[in-house]
Symmetry: C2
Protein backbone atom coordinates (compact mmCIF):
# COMPACT_ATOMS: atom_id res chain seq x y z
CA UNK A 1 0.00 0.00 0.00
CA UNK A 2 3.01 2.29 0.08
CA UNK A 3 6.62 2.51 -0.89
CA UNK A 4 8.26 2.81 2.53
CA UNK A 5 12.05 2.66 2.29
CA UNK A 6 14.06 0.00 4.13
CA UNK A 7 16.38 2.59 5.63
CA UNK A 8 16.68 6.36 5.91
CA UNK A 9 19.49 8.79 6.64
CA UNK A 10 18.94 11.56 9.16
CA UNK A 11 20.99 14.74 9.15
CA UNK A 12 20.95 16.21 12.66
CA UNK A 13 20.68 20.00 12.69
CA UNK A 14 19.61 20.55 16.29
CA UNK A 15 22.78 22.21 17.59
CA UNK A 16 22.92 24.71 14.75
CA UNK A 17 19.16 25.29 14.54
CA UNK A 18 18.78 25.49 18.29
CA UNK A 19 21.71 27.50 19.50
CA UNK A 20 21.28 30.20 16.89
CA UNK A 21 17.70 30.91 17.95
CA UNK A 22 17.82 30.53 21.72
CA UNK A 23 17.97 33.78 23.62
CA UNK A 24 20.76 32.30 25.70
CA UNK A 25 23.51 32.86 26.44
CA UNK A 26 24.32 29.15 26.46
CA UNK A 27 27.79 28.30 27.73
CA UNK A 28 30.09 27.00 25.00
CA UNK A 29 30.89 23.94 27.12
CA UNK A 30 27.23 22.92 27.17
CA UNK A 31 26.92 23.20 23.40
CA UNK A 32 29.95 20.93 23.12
CA UNK A 33 28.40 18.54 25.65
CA UNK A 34 25.28 18.13 23.50
CA UNK A 35 27.24 17.70 20.27
CA UNK A 36 29.49 15.07 21.84
CA UNK A 37 26.47 13.23 23.23
CA UNK A 38 24.74 13.29 19.83
CA UNK A 39 27.85 11.82 18.21
CA UNK A 40 27.42 8.72 20.43
CA UNK A 41 23.92 7.90 19.16
CA UNK A 42 24.69 6.59 15.71
CA UNK A 43 23.98 9.92 13.98
CA UNK A 44 26.68 10.31 11.33
CA UNK A 45 25.93 13.84 10.10
CA UNK A 46 25.62 16.62 12.67
CA UNK A 47 25.42 20.29 11.73
CA UNK A 48 27.00 21.94 14.73
CA UNK A 49 27.39 25.69 14.04
CA UNK A 50 26.73 28.48 11.59
CA UNK A 51 29.39 31.02 10.67
CA UNK A 52 27.32 34.18 10.62
CA UNK A 53 27.62 37.73 11.82
CA UNK A 54 27.81 37.53 15.64
CA UNK A 55 26.01 40.87 15.93
CA UNK A 56 23.04 39.43 14.03
CA UNK A 57 23.20 35.99 15.69
CA UNK A 58 24.86 36.34 19.11
CA UNK A 59 24.22 32.67 19.89
CA UNK A 60 26.77 31.72 17.23
CA UNK A 61 29.51 34.12 18.33
CA UNK A 62 31.41 31.17 19.81
CA UNK A 63 31.17 29.02 16.66
CA UNK A 64 34.95 28.68 16.33
CA UNK A 65 35.32 27.65 19.98
CA UNK A 66 32.54 25.08 19.62
CA UNK A 67 34.20 23.47 16.60
CA UNK A 68 37.56 23.35 18.36
CA UNK A 69 36.05 22.10 21.59
CA UNK A 70 34.24 18.98 20.46
CA UNK A 71 35.76 15.51 20.61
CA UNK A 72 35.36 14.31 17.04
CA UNK A 73 34.16 10.76 16.73
CA UNK A 74 35.42 8.77 13.76
CA UNK A 75 32.68 8.17 11.21
CA UNK A 76 30.71 11.28 12.17
CA UNK A 77 30.67 14.18 9.72
CA UNK A 78 30.46 17.50 11.55
CA UNK A 79 29.08 20.17 9.26
CA UNK A 80 28.45 23.89 9.37
CA UNK A 81 26.27 26.50 7.73
CA UNK A 82 27.41 29.78 6.18
CA UNK A 83 25.55 32.43 4.24
CA UNK A 84 28.34 34.29 2.44
CA UNK A 85 31.99 34.11 1.43
CA UNK A 86 33.22 35.44 4.74
CA UNK A 87 31.40 32.70 6.62
CA UNK A 88 32.70 30.11 4.18
CA UNK A 89 36.28 31.25 4.81
CA UNK A 90 35.77 30.90 8.56
CA UNK A 91 34.47 27.35 8.02
CA UNK A 92 37.42 26.50 5.75
CA UNK A 93 39.81 27.22 8.61
CA UNK A 94 38.46 24.20 10.51
CA UNK A 95 39.95 20.96 9.25
CA UNK A 96 37.71 18.90 11.51
CA UNK A 97 34.58 20.10 9.70
CA UNK A 98 33.20 18.20 6.71
CA UNK A 99 32.45 20.99 4.27
CA UNK A 100 30.13 20.53 1.36
CA UNK A 101 28.86 23.09 -1.10
CA UNK A 102 25.27 23.50 -2.18
CA UNK A 103 23.60 25.03 -5.21
CA UNK A 104 20.72 26.90 -3.62
CA UNK A 105 17.70 28.52 -5.25
CA UNK A 106 14.61 30.02 -3.66
CA UNK A 107 11.06 29.29 -4.82
CA UNK A 108 9.78 32.69 -3.73
CA UNK A 109 11.12 35.82 -5.41
CA UNK A 110 9.61 38.03 -2.72
CA UNK A 111 11.38 36.07 0.02
CA UNK A 112 14.64 36.29 -1.92
CA UNK A 113 14.26 40.03 -2.37
CA UNK A 114 13.47 40.52 1.28
CA UNK A 115 16.23 38.30 2.65
CA UNK A 116 19.05 38.76 0.21
CA UNK A 117 17.91 41.72 -1.88
CA UNK A 118 18.27 39.72 -5.07
CA UNK A 119 16.12 38.76 -8.01
CA UNK A 120 15.77 35.11 -9.00
CA UNK A 121 18.04 35.76 -11.98
CA UNK A 122 20.67 37.29 -9.73
CA UNK A 123 20.43 34.33 -7.35
CA UNK A 124 20.92 31.90 -10.24
CA UNK A 125 23.92 33.84 -11.51
CA UNK A 126 25.44 33.90 -8.03
CA UNK A 127 25.27 30.11 -7.85
CA UNK A 128 27.60 29.83 -10.84
CA UNK A 129 30.16 31.96 -9.01
CA UNK A 130 29.67 30.03 -5.77
CA UNK A 131 30.25 26.65 -7.41
CA UNK A 132 33.49 27.98 -8.89
CA UNK A 133 34.47 29.25 -5.44
CA UNK A 134 33.87 25.77 -3.95
CA UNK A 135 35.78 24.10 -6.74
CA UNK A 136 38.72 26.47 -6.26
CA UNK A 137 38.73 25.62 -2.55
CA UNK A 138 38.57 21.89 -3.24
CA UNK A 139 35.15 21.57 -1.59
CA UNK A 140 32.77 19.01 -3.09
CA UNK A 141 29.39 20.23 -4.40
CA UNK A 142 27.01 17.32 -4.00
CA UNK A 143 23.77 18.97 -2.96
CA UNK A 144 21.15 21.21 -4.47
CA UNK A 145 18.66 23.03 -2.31
CA UNK A 146 15.35 24.80 -2.88
CA UNK A 147 14.17 27.09 -0.12
CA UNK A 148 10.47 27.84 0.41
CA UNK A 149 9.70 24.92 -1.89
CA UNK A 150 6.13 24.52 -0.61
CA UNK A 151 5.02 28.07 0.05
CA UNK A 152 6.09 31.44 1.34
CA UNK A 153 4.71 33.90 3.86
CA UNK A 154 5.44 36.74 1.43
CA UNK A 155 4.31 35.16 -1.80
CA UNK A 156 1.81 32.46 -0.87
CA UNK A 157 1.54 29.00 -2.41
CA UNK A 158 4.34 27.78 -4.67
CA UNK A 159 3.13 25.98 -7.80
CA UNK A 160 4.58 22.52 -8.42
CA UNK A 161 5.80 23.65 -11.86
CA UNK A 162 8.03 26.27 -10.28
CA UNK A 163 9.79 23.64 -8.17
CA UNK A 164 10.29 21.49 -11.25
CA UNK A 165 11.78 24.49 -13.08
CA UNK A 166 14.12 25.25 -10.18
CA UNK A 167 15.38 21.65 -10.05
CA UNK A 168 16.04 21.97 -13.78
CA UNK A 169 18.05 25.16 -13.15
CA UNK A 170 20.04 23.56 -10.33
CA UNK A 171 20.90 20.58 -12.49
CA UNK A 172 21.89 23.03 -15.23
CA UNK A 173 24.34 24.85 -12.95
CA UNK A 174 25.79 21.54 -11.80
CA UNK A 175 26.22 20.28 -15.37
CA UNK A 176 27.82 23.50 -16.54
CA UNK A 177 30.48 23.23 -13.85
CA UNK A 178 30.99 19.50 -14.14
CA UNK A 179 29.73 18.59 -10.68
CA UNK A 180 27.39 15.68 -9.94
CA UNK A 181 24.76 16.23 -7.28
CA UNK A 182 23.92 13.41 -4.90
CA UNK A 183 20.56 14.87 -4.01
CA UNK A 184 18.40 17.99 -3.86
CA UNK A 185 16.90 19.19 -0.58
CA UNK A 186 13.36 20.55 -0.65
CA UNK A 187 13.11 22.92 2.29
CA UNK A 188 9.74 23.81 3.77
CA UNK A 189 11.33 26.96 5.14
CA UNK A 190 8.12 28.62 6.34
CA UNK A 191 6.08 25.49 7.09
CA UNK A 192 3.62 25.51 4.22
CA UNK A 193 3.85 21.84 3.27
CA UNK A 194 1.12 19.28 3.79
CA UNK A 195 1.41 15.55 3.23
CA UNK A 196 -0.58 16.11 0.04
CA UNK A 197 1.74 18.82 -1.32
CA UNK A 198 4.78 16.72 -0.37
CA UNK A 199 3.35 13.92 -2.49
CA UNK A 200 2.41 16.22 -5.34
CA UNK A 201 5.84 17.88 -5.53
CA UNK A 202 7.84 14.68 -5.11
CA UNK A 203 5.55 12.92 -7.56
CA UNK A 204 6.14 15.57 -10.23
CA UNK A 205 9.91 15.54 -9.66
CA UNK A 206 10.06 11.74 -9.75
CA UNK A 207 8.17 11.64 -12.99
CA UNK A 208 10.71 14.00 -14.57
CA UNK A 209 13.87 12.64 -12.87
CA UNK A 210 13.20 9.05 -11.78
CA UNK A 211 16.79 8.51 -10.61
CA UNK A 212 17.35 11.76 -8.74
CA UNK A 213 17.42 11.65 -4.93
CA UNK A 214 15.62 14.22 -2.82
CA UNK A 215 15.84 15.22 0.83
CA UNK A 216 13.26 16.95 3.02
CA UNK A 217 13.89 19.79 5.45
CA UNK A 218 10.62 20.19 7.36
CA UNK A 219 9.60 22.78 9.92
CA UNK A 220 6.94 22.04 12.51
CA UNK A 221 5.46 25.52 12.88
CA UNK A 222 1.93 24.26 12.23
CA UNK A 223 2.29 20.79 13.69
CA UNK A 224 2.50 18.90 10.40
CA UNK A 225 6.22 18.07 10.25
CA UNK A 226 5.87 14.44 11.31
CA UNK A 227 2.92 13.87 8.96
CA UNK A 228 4.93 15.50 6.16
CA UNK A 229 7.90 13.25 6.95
CA UNK A 230 5.56 10.26 6.78
CA UNK A 231 4.33 11.41 3.37
CA UNK A 232 7.99 11.63 2.34
CA UNK A 233 8.57 8.08 3.57
CA UNK A 234 5.57 6.90 1.60
CA UNK A 235 7.15 8.48 -1.48
CA UNK A 236 10.37 6.61 -0.77
CA UNK A 237 12.37 9.66 0.37
CA UNK A 238 15.38 8.47 2.39
CA UNK A 239 17.03 11.72 3.51
CA UNK A 240 15.70 13.99 6.25
CA UNK A 241 17.03 16.95 8.17
CA UNK A 242 15.85 16.87 11.78
CA UNK A 243 16.57 18.50 15.12
CA UNK A 244 16.88 16.67 18.42
CA UNK A 245 14.02 17.56 20.80
CA UNK A 246 12.61 19.78 18.03
CA UNK A 247 15.31 22.38 18.77
CA UNK A 248 15.20 25.47 16.64
CA UNK A 249 12.10 27.12 17.89
CA UNK A 250 10.36 27.78 21.09
CA UNK A 251 6.65 27.62 20.35
CA UNK A 252 5.91 27.91 24.06
CA UNK A 253 7.55 31.28 24.43
CA UNK A 254 5.46 33.09 21.88
CA UNK A 255 7.95 32.80 19.01
CA UNK A 256 5.14 32.27 16.56
CA UNK A 257 6.39 30.80 13.34
CA UNK A 258 9.78 29.95 14.78
CA UNK A 259 9.18 26.25 15.49
CA UNK A 260 12.11 23.99 14.77
CA UNK A 261 12.70 21.13 12.41
CA UNK A 262 10.88 17.87 12.68
CA UNK A 263 11.99 16.32 15.96
CA UNK A 264 14.77 13.77 15.41
CA UNK A 265 13.78 11.28 18.08
CA UNK A 266 10.10 11.42 17.09
CA UNK A 267 11.13 10.72 13.49
CA UNK A 268 13.39 7.85 14.59
CA UNK A 269 10.51 6.47 16.68
CA UNK A 270 8.19 6.65 13.66
CA UNK A 271 10.78 4.84 11.53
CA UNK A 272 11.52 2.19 14.19
CA UNK A 273 7.83 1.41 14.63
CA UNK A 274 7.35 0.99 10.88
CA UNK A 275 10.43 -1.20 10.44
CA UNK A 276 12.58 1.45 8.75
CA UNK A 277 16.25 1.36 9.73
CA UNK A 278 17.90 4.60 10.90
CA UNK A 279 21.12 3.33 12.47
CA UNK A 280 20.34 5.47 15.52
CA UNK A 281 20.03 4.33 19.14
CA UNK A 282 16.66 5.81 20.12
CA UNK A 283 17.18 5.51 23.87
CA UNK A 284 20.52 7.34 23.63
CA UNK A 285 18.93 9.99 21.41
CA UNK A 286 16.13 10.55 23.94
CA UNK A 287 18.77 11.19 26.60
CA UNK A 288 20.25 13.82 24.25
CA UNK A 289 16.81 15.42 23.88
CA UNK A 290 16.50 15.65 27.67
CA UNK A 291 20.00 17.11 27.81
CA UNK A 292 18.99 19.70 25.19
CA UNK A 293 16.01 20.72 27.35
CA UNK A 294 18.27 21.03 30.34
CA UNK A 295 20.72 23.17 28.36
CA UNK A 296 18.16 25.60 26.94
CA UNK A 297 16.32 25.74 30.25
CA UNK A 298 12.76 25.45 28.95
CA UNK A 299 10.49 22.73 27.53
CA UNK A 300 11.15 21.67 23.96
CA UNK A 301 8.46 20.27 21.66
CA UNK A 302 9.63 16.66 21.22
CA UNK A 303 6.99 14.08 22.19
CA UNK A 304 8.71 10.71 22.54
CA UNK A 305 11.11 12.06 25.15
CA UNK A 306 8.03 12.76 27.29
CA UNK A 307 5.75 9.86 26.30
CA UNK A 308 8.51 7.23 26.17
CA UNK A 309 9.11 4.50 23.62
CA UNK A 310 7.13 1.29 23.26
CA UNK A 311 10.05 -1.10 23.35
CA UNK A 312 10.02 -1.24 27.13
CA UNK A 313 6.47 -2.60 27.05
CA UNK A 314 7.44 -5.29 24.58
CA UNK A 315 10.40 -6.46 26.64
CA UNK A 316 9.08 -6.57 30.20
CA UNK A 317 12.59 -6.97 31.68
CA UNK A 318 13.32 -3.61 30.05
CA UNK A 319 10.61 -1.77 32.04
CA UNK B 1 -2.35 8.83 -5.30
CA UNK B 2 -4.63 8.57 -2.30
CA UNK B 3 -8.24 8.31 -1.33
CA UNK B 4 -8.69 11.56 0.62
CA UNK B 5 -12.32 12.16 1.55
CA UNK B 6 -14.17 15.30 0.44
CA UNK B 7 -15.34 16.02 3.97
CA UNK B 8 -14.81 14.75 7.50
CA UNK B 9 -16.71 14.95 10.75
CA UNK B 10 -14.88 15.93 13.93
CA UNK B 11 -16.16 14.99 17.36
CA UNK B 12 -14.76 17.49 19.89
CA UNK B 13 -13.74 15.87 23.16
CA UNK B 14 -11.55 18.61 24.59
CA UNK B 15 -13.78 19.71 27.48
CA UNK B 16 -14.28 16.17 28.76
CA UNK B 17 -10.70 14.98 28.04
CA UNK B 18 -9.18 18.14 29.41
CA UNK B 19 -11.13 18.96 32.49
CA UNK B 20 -10.99 15.43 33.84
CA UNK B 21 -7.18 15.35 33.75
CA UNK B 22 -6.21 18.87 34.77
CA UNK B 23 -5.13 19.23 38.35
CA UNK B 24 -7.43 22.22 38.62
CA UNK B 25 -9.64 23.23 40.22
CA UNK B 26 -11.11 24.96 37.18
CA UNK B 27 -14.13 27.15 37.94
CA UNK B 28 -17.37 25.75 36.52
CA UNK B 29 -18.07 29.07 34.80
CA UNK B 30 -14.86 28.81 32.80
CA UNK B 31 -15.66 25.29 31.64
CA UNK B 32 -19.01 26.59 30.45
CA UNK B 33 -17.28 29.53 28.74
CA UNK B 34 -15.11 27.16 26.68
CA UNK B 35 -18.00 24.86 25.76
CA UNK B 36 -20.16 27.81 24.67
CA UNK B 37 -17.27 29.20 22.60
CA UNK B 38 -16.69 25.82 20.94
CA UNK B 39 -20.36 25.62 20.03
CA UNK B 40 -19.92 28.80 17.92
CA UNK B 41 -17.21 27.32 15.68
CA UNK B 42 -19.23 24.94 13.55
CA UNK B 43 -18.43 21.90 15.68
CA UNK B 44 -21.67 19.93 15.92
CA UNK B 45 -20.65 17.21 18.40
CA UNK B 46 -19.03 18.26 21.66
CA UNK B 47 -18.41 15.86 24.53
CA UNK B 48 -18.61 18.14 27.51
CA UNK B 49 -18.46 16.03 30.70
CA UNK B 50 -18.02 12.56 32.13
CA UNK B 51 -20.27 11.22 34.86
CA UNK B 52 -17.75 9.45 37.02
CA UNK B 53 -16.94 9.09 40.69
CA UNK B 54 -15.99 12.59 41.90
CA UNK B 55 -13.58 11.11 44.41
CA UNK B 56 -11.68 9.41 41.57
CA UNK B 57 -11.99 12.35 39.15
CA UNK B 58 -12.41 15.57 41.15
CA UNK B 59 -12.31 17.66 37.97
CA UNK B 60 -15.70 16.21 36.98
CA UNK B 61 -17.44 16.73 40.33
CA UNK B 62 -19.35 19.66 38.79
CA UNK B 63 -20.51 17.72 35.71
CA UNK B 64 -24.20 18.34 36.45
CA UNK B 65 -23.63 22.07 36.93
CA UNK B 66 -21.66 22.27 33.67
CA UNK B 67 -24.45 20.60 31.70
CA UNK B 68 -27.06 22.89 33.24
CA UNK B 69 -24.93 25.98 32.80
CA UNK B 70 -24.21 25.91 29.07
CA UNK B 71 -26.26 27.80 26.52
CA UNK B 72 -27.22 25.05 24.08
CA UNK B 73 -26.90 26.04 20.46
CA UNK B 74 -29.38 24.48 18.04
CA UNK B 75 -27.72 21.93 15.80
CA UNK B 76 -24.99 21.09 18.29
CA UNK B 77 -25.13 17.69 19.99
CA UNK B 78 -23.71 17.88 23.52
CA UNK B 79 -22.59 14.46 24.67
CA UNK B 80 -21.22 12.87 27.82
CA UNK B 81 -19.18 9.88 28.87
CA UNK B 82 -20.04 7.37 31.58
CA UNK B 83 -18.38 4.16 32.70
CA UNK B 84 -21.16 2.38 34.56
CA UNK B 85 -24.90 2.28 35.14
CA UNK B 86 -24.78 4.92 37.86
CA UNK B 87 -23.04 7.35 35.55
CA UNK B 88 -25.52 6.54 32.78
CA UNK B 89 -28.42 7.33 35.10
CA UNK B 90 -26.89 10.70 35.95
CA UNK B 91 -26.53 11.43 32.23
CA UNK B 92 -30.15 10.38 31.58
CA UNK B 93 -31.36 13.10 33.94
CA UNK B 94 -30.12 15.80 31.51
CA UNK B 95 -32.55 16.32 28.66
CA UNK B 96 -30.16 18.73 26.92
CA UNK B 97 -27.59 15.98 26.40
CA UNK B 98 -27.59 13.84 23.27
CA UNK B 99 -27.10 10.37 24.66
CA UNK B 100 -25.90 7.52 22.55
CA UNK B 101 -24.96 4.01 23.57
CA UNK B 102 -21.86 2.16 22.47
CA UNK B 103 -20.92 -1.50 22.27
CA UNK B 104 -17.38 -1.45 23.61
CA UNK B 105 -14.75 -4.18 23.57
CA UNK B 106 -11.08 -4.04 24.50
CA UNK B 107 -8.26 -5.46 22.38
CA UNK B 108 -6.07 -6.19 25.39
CA UNK B 109 -7.21 -8.71 27.97
CA UNK B 110 -4.52 -7.55 30.41
CA UNK B 111 -5.74 -3.95 30.17
CA UNK B 112 -9.32 -5.11 30.66
CA UNK B 113 -8.35 -7.15 33.71
CA UNK B 114 -6.40 -4.27 35.18
CA UNK B 115 -9.00 -1.57 34.54
CA UNK B 116 -12.29 -3.35 34.95
CA UNK B 117 -11.26 -6.67 36.50
CA UNK B 118 -12.99 -8.58 33.72
CA UNK B 119 -12.09 -11.23 31.19
CA UNK B 120 -12.79 -10.64 27.50
CA UNK B 121 -15.69 -13.11 27.73
CA UNK B 122 -17.17 -11.19 30.67
CA UNK B 123 -16.77 -7.91 28.79
CA UNK B 124 -18.59 -9.35 25.78
CA UNK B 125 -21.39 -10.69 27.97
CA UNK B 126 -21.72 -7.32 29.69
CA UNK B 127 -22.27 -5.61 26.34
CA UNK B 128 -25.41 -7.67 25.75
CA UNK B 129 -26.83 -6.43 29.06
CA UNK B 130 -25.76 -2.85 28.33
CA UNK B 131 -27.47 -2.79 24.94
CA UNK B 132 -30.66 -4.00 26.59
CA UNK B 133 -30.29 -1.26 29.21
CA UNK B 134 -29.96 1.37 26.47
CA UNK B 135 -32.92 -0.02 24.58
CA UNK B 136 -35.03 0.01 27.72
CA UNK B 137 -34.09 3.66 28.28
CA UNK B 138 -34.88 4.57 24.69
CA UNK B 139 -31.25 5.48 23.95
CA UNK B 140 -30.01 4.73 20.43
CA UNK B 141 -27.02 2.40 20.05
CA UNK B 142 -25.25 3.49 16.88
CA UNK B 143 -21.61 3.05 17.73
CA UNK B 144 -19.17 0.26 18.39
CA UNK B 145 -15.82 0.91 20.00
CA UNK B 146 -12.57 -1.00 20.38
CA UNK B 147 -10.17 0.24 23.02
CA UNK B 148 -6.41 -0.34 22.74
CA UNK B 149 -6.97 -1.30 19.11
CA UNK B 150 -3.34 -0.72 18.11
CA UNK B 151 -1.39 -1.85 21.15
CA UNK B 152 -1.31 -1.90 24.92
CA UNK B 153 1.23 -0.97 27.55
CA UNK B 154 0.38 -4.15 29.45
CA UNK B 155 0.11 -6.59 26.57
CA UNK B 156 2.20 -5.14 23.74
CA UNK B 157 1.29 -5.11 20.06
CA UNK B 158 -2.25 -6.03 19.05
CA UNK B 159 -2.45 -8.30 15.99
CA UNK B 160 -4.68 -7.12 13.17
CA UNK B 161 -6.64 -10.38 13.32
CA UNK B 162 -7.71 -9.64 16.87
CA UNK B 163 -9.23 -6.32 15.81
CA UNK B 164 -11.06 -8.06 12.97
CA UNK B 165 -12.42 -10.64 15.45
CA UNK B 166 -13.57 -7.89 17.84
CA UNK B 167 -15.41 -6.04 15.09
CA UNK B 168 -17.10 -9.33 14.27
CA UNK B 169 -18.15 -9.70 17.92
CA UNK B 170 -19.45 -6.13 18.09
CA UNK B 171 -21.51 -6.65 14.95
CA UNK B 172 -22.78 -9.89 16.46
CA UNK B 173 -24.00 -8.14 19.62
CA UNK B 174 -25.66 -5.44 17.52
CA UNK B 175 -27.39 -7.98 15.29
CA UNK B 176 -28.60 -10.05 18.21
CA UNK B 177 -30.31 -7.01 19.72
CA UNK B 178 -31.62 -5.62 16.44
CA UNK B 179 -29.58 -2.42 16.48
CA UNK B 180 -27.75 -1.03 13.47
CA UNK B 181 -24.38 0.57 14.10
CA UNK B 182 -23.42 3.68 12.15
CA UNK B 183 -19.73 3.19 12.76
CA UNK B 184 -17.05 1.59 14.92
CA UNK B 185 -14.42 3.69 16.67
CA UNK B 186 -10.88 2.34 16.79
CA UNK B 187 -9.28 3.91 19.84
CA UNK B 188 -5.51 4.17 20.12
CA UNK B 189 -5.94 4.39 23.86
CA UNK B 190 -2.27 4.12 24.79
CA UNK B 191 -0.76 5.69 21.64
CA UNK B 192 0.68 2.64 19.93
CA UNK B 193 -0.57 3.36 16.40
CA UNK B 194 1.63 4.36 13.49
CA UNK B 195 0.45 5.48 10.07
CA UNK B 196 1.44 2.02 8.85
CA UNK B 197 -0.60 0.15 11.47
CA UNK B 198 -3.56 2.48 10.87
CA UNK B 199 -3.43 1.48 7.21
CA UNK B 200 -2.98 -2.20 7.97
CA UNK B 201 -5.89 -2.37 10.42
CA UNK B 202 -8.26 -0.24 8.34
CA UNK B 203 -7.23 -2.16 5.24
CA UNK B 204 -8.06 -5.50 6.83
CA UNK B 205 -11.41 -4.24 8.15
CA UNK B 206 -12.32 -2.69 4.78
CA UNK B 207 -11.58 -5.90 3.00
CA UNK B 208 -13.95 -7.78 5.29
CA UNK B 209 -16.64 -5.07 5.65
CA UNK B 210 -16.40 -2.73 2.64
CA UNK B 211 -19.49 -0.76 3.67
CA UNK B 212 -18.81 -0.35 7.36
CA UNK B 213 -17.73 3.09 8.62
CA UNK B 214 -14.90 3.53 11.10
CA UNK B 215 -13.79 6.39 13.32
CA UNK B 216 -10.38 7.08 14.84
CA UNK B 217 -9.65 8.18 18.40
CA UNK B 218 -5.95 9.05 18.43
CA UNK B 219 -3.70 10.03 21.32
CA UNK B 220 -0.59 12.11 20.74
CA UNK B 221 1.60 10.69 23.51
CA UNK B 222 4.44 9.93 21.11
CA UNK B 223 3.84 12.74 18.63
CA UNK B 224 2.28 10.66 15.87
CA UNK B 225 -1.40 11.62 16.22
CA UNK B 226 -1.49 14.00 13.25
CA UNK B 227 0.44 11.55 11.04
CA UNK B 228 -1.96 8.81 12.12
CA UNK B 229 -4.92 11.03 11.30
CA UNK B 230 -3.41 11.67 7.89
CA UNK B 231 -3.06 7.92 7.35
CA UNK B 232 -6.74 7.64 8.29
CA UNK B 233 -7.62 10.34 5.75
CA UNK B 234 -5.66 8.47 3.10
CA UNK B 235 -7.75 5.40 3.90
CA UNK B 236 -10.90 7.46 3.48
CA UNK B 237 -11.81 7.60 7.18
CA UNK B 238 -14.24 10.48 7.74
CA UNK B 239 -14.78 10.46 11.52
CA UNK B 240 -12.26 11.67 14.08
CA UNK B 241 -12.33 12.39 17.78
CA UNK B 242 -10.15 15.40 18.62
CA UNK B 243 -9.48 17.83 21.45
CA UNK B 244 -9.13 21.58 21.08
CA UNK B 245 -5.55 22.74 21.82
CA UNK B 246 -4.65 19.08 22.40
CA UNK B 247 -6.43 19.19 25.76
CA UNK B 248 -6.36 15.99 27.73
CA UNK B 249 -2.75 15.77 28.65
CA UNK B 250 -0.03 18.00 29.86
CA UNK B 251 3.16 16.68 28.31
CA UNK B 252 5.04 19.69 29.66
CA UNK B 253 4.31 18.93 33.27
CA UNK B 254 5.83 15.50 33.36
CA UNK B 255 2.58 13.55 32.83
CA UNK B 256 4.38 11.02 30.68
CA UNK B 257 1.94 9.04 28.61
CA UNK B 258 -0.93 11.35 29.38
CA UNK B 259 -0.92 13.42 26.19
CA UNK B 260 -4.31 14.32 24.83
CA UNK B 261 -6.17 13.54 21.66
CA UNK B 262 -5.05 14.79 18.30
CA UNK B 263 -5.39 18.56 18.41
CA UNK B 264 -8.65 19.70 16.80
CA UNK B 265 -7.42 22.91 15.23
CA UNK B 266 -4.26 21.23 13.89
CA UNK B 267 -6.46 18.55 12.33
CA UNK B 268 -8.80 21.17 10.86
CA UNK B 269 -5.76 23.03 9.49
CA UNK B 270 -4.49 19.80 7.89
CA UNK B 271 -7.89 19.19 6.32
CA UNK B 272 -8.30 22.80 5.12
CA UNK B 273 -4.90 22.78 3.47
CA UNK B 274 -5.67 19.54 1.65
CA UNK B 275 -9.12 20.67 0.50
CA UNK B 276 -11.09 18.49 2.90
CA UNK B 277 -14.24 20.13 4.28
CA UNK B 278 -14.78 20.15 8.06
CA UNK B 279 -17.55 22.73 8.46
CA UNK B 280 -15.48 24.38 11.17
CA UNK B 281 -14.31 28.00 11.34
CA UNK B 282 -10.57 27.57 11.96
CA UNK B 283 -9.97 31.13 13.17
CA UNK B 284 -12.78 30.82 15.71
CA UNK B 285 -11.45 27.43 16.81
CA UNK B 286 -7.96 28.88 17.34
CA UNK B 287 -9.50 31.49 19.63
CA UNK B 288 -11.06 28.61 21.60
CA UNK B 289 -7.65 26.93 21.84
CA UNK B 290 -6.16 30.12 23.27
CA UNK B 291 -9.09 30.34 25.67
CA UNK B 292 -8.42 26.73 26.75
CA UNK B 293 -4.80 27.61 27.50
CA UNK B 294 -5.92 30.59 29.51
CA UNK B 295 -8.38 28.43 31.46
CA UNK B 296 -5.95 25.65 32.36
CA UNK B 297 -3.19 28.15 33.07
CA UNK B 298 -0.32 26.40 31.27
CA UNK B 299 0.82 25.83 27.69
CA UNK B 300 -1.11 23.25 25.70
CA UNK B 301 0.42 21.25 22.84
CA UNK B 302 -1.52 22.60 19.83
CA UNK B 303 0.72 24.02 17.09
CA UNK B 304 -1.45 26.08 14.75
CA UNK B 305 -2.62 28.31 17.59
CA UNK B 306 1.04 29.30 18.00
CA UNK B 307 2.27 29.18 14.40
CA UNK B 308 -0.84 30.71 12.85
CA UNK B 309 -2.73 29.72 9.74
CA UNK B 310 -1.63 30.34 6.16
CA UNK B 311 -4.80 31.99 4.96
CA UNK B 312 -3.63 35.41 6.13
CA UNK B 313 -0.61 35.18 3.83
CA UNK B 314 -2.79 34.32 0.87
CA UNK B 315 -5.12 37.26 1.46
CA UNK B 316 -2.79 40.17 2.18
CA UNK B 317 -5.63 42.39 3.42
CA UNK B 318 -6.17 39.71 6.06
CA UNK B 319 -2.66 40.13 7.57
Amino acid sequence: MSDLPAAVHINEEGPREGFQIEKGPIPTARKIELIDALSQTGLDHIQIVSFVNPRAVPGMADADEVVEGITPRPGVAYTALWLNEKGFERALAHKRLSLGGSITLVASEKFLKRNQNRTAAEQLASQHRIVEMYKAAGIPVERGSIMAAFGCNFEGDVPVDRVVALVQQILGVAAEHGVTLKYITLADTMAWATPLSIKQVIGALRERWPDLDFALHLHDTRGLAIANAYAGLEMGITRYDAAVAGLGGCPFAGHAGAAGNVCTEDLVFLCNEMGIETGIDLDALIECAKLAEDIVGHPLPGSVMKGGTLQRFRNPQHV
